[in-house]
Symmetry: C2
Subunit: 541 residues, 2 copies
């Protein structure tokens, strides 16, 4: 065996933009070469990006991919292993990896395990591969796998039995809390067990509701972590193989992120990528003085810079004075554009217009929704006029039980906290305050009891169980898929459990019309939890 | 062989409501028995209904299905062939058919072809079956297939080679224009070719965005149509086999529906099922004097009855007098509850509230959207207060190019015309007028040039190409998946094609937040056309 240097190109593709992605890959290959790398590994489906969804069905994909391959063939003196859509003569379509050197394709590997669960729909697009790919370079034997393949022990064992020294895995593995650690822990066991080195390159970047964290790494055959790329950043990382010692050179690896730091950085990246790639100059959001909008604002500023962020406070009769003060205070601390628009005239004009219909009927949720929808419409008008994207500020707990107004506080193109339970919202706010000298979120926003402020002295806890109880029930029902009976058996009040589950079930229609937002949990709404709206399933055992 | 009578139970399940569906199946089996049927065939997955989506992943499904099977076992003296989720000991889950008689399961068939394209995601839920099921009854040999199986010639040939006399196919085959005719045409060829009788039972009913048309039928081995159930209705149909003649008794079959009648009835059924199954007492919609809301109103009244339908006209400065007249006239003809709410005060209050932000900036789409959103908010307030579901009235052409306002005219729980191109809207309106003595849609609504009436003298055709051109381009791009270049080559103005495609691509975010609506085309938005929002694919060749 000879010495060699391997580069992990953890890059962020623009989904569907084959031209740009290819140019970026060439640039990265050249950078790797400039640093004396012999091999550069890209993520899964790097040419088109992951997930390209029904773009994969477009007839012209084949030609566009061919053009990309032609351009990549211009790169010389480095082995490139990258992901692309391989369309065979017989019309079969594969999720594939190519090994390319000096304009030649040395081998093509077709993914053998196609995930079709959770957020994945690969069987909609791809045929199954049936063959391993092993190639020798610099007297070293490499095997190639793609993402799901590495989680199938049979596939990996078969490959290892071909006397492979190092497995190269191309991934587009979506983030969820703890996933970076989970990958390394599992792969550490695997490399030790099979006595094989492992190079794991992952896509990075936000794509609609999916976050790709990157967190690429190299493990040696002893299960030792050789290098780990940062999470949520594009990065070119390197690992050097020393032939004399028969192993990769140990490097200092950075400590893992704490959970809240990990989530926070993920949300920041997802927000930045969504806004920038959808071509908006900036964002606008409604600041209420509550914790959800406060946290959303902090994330927006960290993602885009204060000059790209506009907030507007829209008080009404039930808005507490401290809400107005806290919103203004946070805006000041962050240095964003801030305005106030009282909504009394709008709400009154609605009520007058509706009077011939409503007469003296008693007030109910209708009037609360009118406030929320007046705000939503104002935000959208500001967005239309100045071109900024509206960020919606609702959290997962609210969305789960429908404690939010469709076309009201739910307006917006991107719902930053959509997959973040309220209890985690509090943790994230505290985390964000802990990392800057001056807390960016006024303390009172975190400590006061949450309220939608849509009627006098309203508190969230008048309508909902305490958030720690609510979130525990929601987690059991959504993430763990437990039945009503099983959740009650954990010791929760049966009536509360029944009510929460009922609310989750009947609010599917609301969620279906909500903005997309970044997934951080092991079961996010929409792409991952596909429930019918008309749904006669009865909660129970 | 002996004589026998077979019943086709074309029934409409309530998705997920296993208890109700089972009770209904038992009732239908008893009805079939009362009419001397020997065998009754239900649709695919009749016990849980199709598509149950992620309800299929719920851990308690296995127990619930067992309970349903126990109840079905109480039915005596008739062979029942029905669809259910079969969970094997090893955890594998199958889309299956059971043959049950007098409390015994005579056989279980696991579907061998799982569609995972278009609107189908069966590989997310089911494992593949690998075995045919043939059973003998009354000296007659029956084979069982499920939906997609019958479209796979290999599967069908293998089964026919087992000397089967009659194939029983359980289906949940979604409607699209022309599908009922297409099924019979294809199956006629198949039965003639294989010399086998075919009993085809299909689910009926609206489930979210899918319409199941029923249209069940029996073909004999000569390809002769023996019976055809009506479309869009629950029905128990029968076919009698005469052993002496070795064939099914010919019956008179009803003529097929004309295309517009077929679409119209499908939309009516879908609307009725959505409203009733979501538990709303009725519907409300905004009546503009235009053709989309006029047609939606007619469908709503046909679906639910005039007493369940409320409409409100919300005029503004740009609303033509004839719009107000025509809306009132249609409401009168149909006998629905009708009200008028001028939106000037609301729009003015928004403009005043926004003045500190907008100053004297020139008017643009912002002000148009404000009108639409004022109307949307009023409709939602009326819905909240009186409990009626809002029907949204936009058509497929508008939604495709984003010629509609999010949170404005797009508000609502069900978008009746979501998958209906504008040119078809006109046809449907004429069709509906043709079937009643007094036209329910005032003639002028159909003949005047379409306008959103959001600025002075606005016409749709100021912003969009003529609808026949627009729809032809949209059809080529969406349904046919043609590239920009290929569409231009059909002879359309290149600039127009480019603009239309660009509009379709950039408006994915809008459609994503729109209400669901019934699918009638071969490629509907949302479930069937899954495009990323952040999408760098460039139109071109």
């Amino acid at each position: 065996m000879k010495n060699f240097k391997i580069a992990l190109a953890q890059f962020s593709p623009h989904i569907g933009n084959i031209e740009n992605n290819t140019a970026k890959m060439i640039e990265q290959a050249n950078q790797a070469k400039a640093q004396q790398a012999d091999i550069v590994i890209f993520p899964e489906l790097s040419v088109i990006g992951y997930p390209a969804e029904d773009l994969l069905l477009r007839p012209s994909l084949k030609n566009r991919t061919q053009q990309a391959l032609s351009q990549l063939k211009e790169v010389k003196d480095i082995v490139m292993v990258f992901g692309f859509v391989h369309q065979a003569e017989d019309g079969q379509r594969f999720n594939s990896a190519a090994v390319m050197k000096d304009g030649e394709i040395l081998g093509i590997y077709n993914k053998q395990n196609l995930p079709n669960y959770s957020v994945f729909d690969e069987k909609r697009y791809f045929n199954l591969g049936h063959q391993h790919l092993v190639f020798e370079y610099l007297e070293h034997k490499f095997g190639v796998l793609i993402c799901e393949d590495i989680w199938n022990i049979n596939t990996v064992q078969q490959l290892a039995q071909l006397n492979v020294d190092t497995i190269l895995v191309l991934n587009s593995s979506p983030y969820e809390v703890g996933k970076p650690q989970h990958r390394i822990a599992t792969m550490t066991e695997l490399t030790k067990q099979l006595r094989v080195n492992l190079v794991y390159t992952n896509q990075v970047g936000g794509q609609d509701d999916l976050i790709f964290d990157g967190s690429s790494f190299v493990l040696d055959r002893e299960g030792q972590l050789i290098c780990r790329a940062e999470s949520f950043k594009e990065q070119l990382s390197f690992a050097e193989f020393n032939a004399e010692q028969g192993s990769f050179k140990a490097q200092e690896t950075q400590p893992e992120l704490e959970t809240m730091a990990e989530i926070y950085q993920g949300l920041v990246m997802a927000t930045r990528d969504y806004v920038q790639r959808s071509g908006f100059p900036g964002v606008i959001l409604g600041l209420s003085g509550g914790i959800d909008s406060a946290l959303t604002l902090a994330i927006a500023v960290d993602a885009l810079g204060a000059d790209k962020v506009q907030a507007v406070m829209m008080p009404y009769t039930y808005t507490a004075q401290i809400s107005i003060e806290d919103a203004a205070e946070q805006a000041k601390r962050l240095g964003i554009t801030f305005g106030v628009a009282e909504i009394h005239p709008v709400v009154n004009s609605f009520m007058q217009t509706l009077y011939p219909f409503f007469g003296n009927m008693p007030a109910d949720a209708t009037e609360e929704n009118l406030q929320a929808r007046s705000r939503g419409t104002l935000l959208m008008a500001l967005s239309n006029k100045f071109g900024n994207l509206v960020l919606s500020t609702g959290n997962k707990s609210e969305l789960a039980v429908g404690y939010c107004t469709l076309y009201g506080d739910m307006v917006g193109g991107f719902a930053v906290l959509k997959d973040v339970y309220k209890t985690i919202v509090f943790e994230l706010a505290k985390y964000r305050n802990s990392i800057s000298e001056t807390p960016v979120i006024p303390e009172r926003v975190i400590t006061r009891p949450p309220s939608a402020e849509l009627r006098p002295d309203q508190k969230d806890q008048d309508s909902l169980p305490a958030y720690d109880v609510l979130d525990a029930i929601l987690y059991a029902y959504i993430e763990e898929d437990l039945s009503q009976q099983a959740i009650i058996e954990r010791g929760f009040d049966p009536q509360v459990v029944e009510k929460v589950i009922r609310l989750v079930d009947i609010n599917e229609y609301k969620r279906r019309q909500g903005a997309i937002g970044p997934r951080i949990s092991s079961r996010a709404f929409s792409r991952e939890r596909r429930y019918p709206i008309i749904n006669g399933w009865k909660a129970g055992s």
